[in-house]
């Protein structure tokens, strides 16, 4: 009698066990189906939208990487090749040369090379760039906005949640599809009067 009831209890337990197991399988399966319906194969990477960026300097300090994976990117196609470059020179420069005291970049990551009168090319040395956005602000205010901050995808660890995104005051960071990993402003969308874009 005793044995029998013991056996029954064990049976019941096994039955319950299997039931719960099946419930778990069903639940997990359901969840998978629910989520998988929205699943995209490509995956996402983090990127900032230069149109929303306010150059607060947090890209330099918030990224989990040192130096930051956010760098200044030069869209040459937008550049005016100006002699008096708002992104290169400190505001009150009188003499336009490459002396240290005239350069805006805290790490001197921008190289200025003469092309022909009156044009100069500006190149970013990304090894030195810390992504502070000072030049971007200068270029945006005084120039065409060809200097833009971007997450360099070869440097980015693509954290599940980007620490810079969390700290970004202007909500400029978003997940973008990995096959279109950059959000650069294109020529014509920066300064100047609004205009139709040629396609």
């Amino acid at each position: 009698m005793e044995e029998n009831s013991q056996g029954k209890r064990v049976d019941r337990r096994v039955f319950l066990h299997t039931g719960v197991q099946l419930a778990f399988v069903a639940g997990l399966g359901g969840l998978t189906v629910l989520v998988a319906r929205r699943a995209g194969g490509e995956g996402y990477v983090w990127q900032l939208d230069p149109a929303k960026c306010t150059q607060c300097g947090r890209c330099a300090t918030s990224c989990v990487k040192t130096p930051s994976a956010v760098k200044c990117v030069h869209v040459y196609a937008m550049c005016g090749y100006c002699d008096l470059c708002g992104g290169y020179f400190v505001p009150d420069t009188k003499i336009l040369d490459t002396a240290a005291e005239h350069q805006l970049c805290p790490t001197k990551a921008i190289k200025r090379t003469f092309i022909e009168d009156p044009f100069f090319q500006y190149t970013i040395d990304e090894d030195l760039c810390i992504g502070c956005g000072k030049c971007v602000k200068g270029c945006h205010a005084f120039g065409n906005g060809s200097l833009q901050l971007q997450v360099r995808q070869n440097l980015c660890d693509n954290c599940n949640e980007c620490a810079v995104a969390r700290n970004c005051p202007s909500g400029a960071y978003t997940r973008v599809p990995a096959d279109k990993p950059y959000l650069l402003n294109e020529p014509g969308t920066g300064n100047g009067p609004p205009q139709k874009t040629e396609v």
Binding site: Q55, C56, G57, R58, A60, T61, C79, G80, Y81, C82, D83, L84, C85, G86, P91, D92, T93, K94, L104, P106, P118, F119, C132, G133, K134, K137, G138, A141, F142, G143, N144, N167, G190, N191, G192, P193, P194, Q195, K196
Partner: protein, 328 residues
């Protein structure tokens, strides 16, 4: 044994401290209070307290348009404003007289001495009667035409094209007469440097054509045949010069031949003497929103300065201070 206890307690405290840190950091620390380590303080540049502002704003009004592009004044001081896709005409006091829609946005406009309207619409020019009827339209040559300014002395029409980077003289039928200001080292003409879509024209007292060369921060004067008369202007962040990469963006001429100039970057409207010497400020940077660009200018017969402020979507009218003080 005691030592072991201590170790456990120490480890536990460490663990709890870590959890406590998480809780505090998540719920009880507000915003990141660090200031921007790499701040480029543009606002400091915007302060020009030492230079007196010689003009005061007497009136502003908001046109019923968005995306303001251009402003012009006719002989009887009526104000013409173009924006998104229409044109509005106001009395000198800012009351609407007439409004009509345009097929395309007009980025620049001028009123011919007879009252006809010349509108630069991206890649073509339209000439409208004072009532708004289309008289003619024609397209300058080029692949990247982007008209940014048009002026006329009644006889010739001068057009500035920021896309093709040239200034041309046309007759009223749209026949190209000649180009002006292309690089010519023999004549000492430096050539146009147009880094962005700002390229403005104006007619001086002796019908000479003044053109902004924004990349070089200077204004150049030409005879209609294209010969150079003079050049002035220097790049500087100071109030005396033109700042940034392409300034001034717009200008207008006062009755005494002085220049009114509008800048972006450090938003300001200034007056230069006919000789090109800095005279005074009309509006200081703090009178504009940060980031305002495209301050188109017009001057009426009473030398009131009309500033088109696209950021605030306003037409703002400034007068010289003394004049107003006399009235008081």
């Amino acid at each position: 044994m005691m030592k072991q206890r201590l170790l456990i307690i120490g480890a536990l405290i460490l663990l709890l401290a870590i959890i406590g840190y998480m809780v505090v950091d998540l719920f009880f620390t507000g915003r990141d209070k660090r200031e921007n380590l790499y701040d480029y303080r543009l606002s400091e540049l915007r302060q020009t307290d030492s230079t007196p502002v010689a003009y005061r704003e007497i009136l502003h009004f908001t046109p019923g348009l968005s995306d303001l592009h251009g402003i012009a004044v006719d002989d009887s001081d009526r104000i013409y404003v173009t924006g998104s896709s229409s044109l509005e005409i106001y009395t000198p006091d800012g009351n609407l007289m007439l409004a009509f829609s345009l097929p395309d946005p007009a980025y620049c406009l001028t009123v011919a001495p007879g009252g006809d309207l010349l509108l630069g619409m991206e890649d073509h020019l339209e000439i409208l009667s004072p009532e708004g009827e289309l008289i003619s339209r024609w397209k300058p040559e080029g692949e990247h035409v982007f008209l940014t300014s048009v002026v006329t002395n009644g006889k010739d029409i001068f057009i500035a094209d920021a896309g093709e980077k040239n200034v041309s003289r046309y007759n009223w039928e749209g026949v190209l007469l000649n180009r002006i200001g292309d690089k010519d080292s023999l004549q000492g003409i430096p050539g146009w440097v147009i880094p962005s879509g700002y390229f403005d024209l104006g007619l001086g007292r002796d019908d000479e054509l003044w053109v902004v060369n924004p990349g070089r921060h200077q204004l150049e004067a030409f005879r209609p045949d294209g010969s150079l008369i003079s050049i002035w202007g220097e790049s500087s962040m100071d109030v005396e010069g033109f700042c940034g990469c392409c300034n001034p963006t717009h200008f207008a001429l006062l009755s005494d031949g002085s220049f009114v100039t509008g800048e972006k970057g450090i938003e300001r409207v200034k007056i230069y003497r006919p000789s090109g010497e800095f005279n005074c400020l009309v509006a200081a940077p703090d009178q504009f929103d940060e980031g305002t660009r495209g301050l188109d200018l017009a001057v009426d017969s009473k030398d009131r300065i009309l500033v088109l402020d696209p950021s605030r979507n306003q037409v703002r009218i400034f007068v010289y201070k003394d004049e107003n003080d006399e009235n008081r």
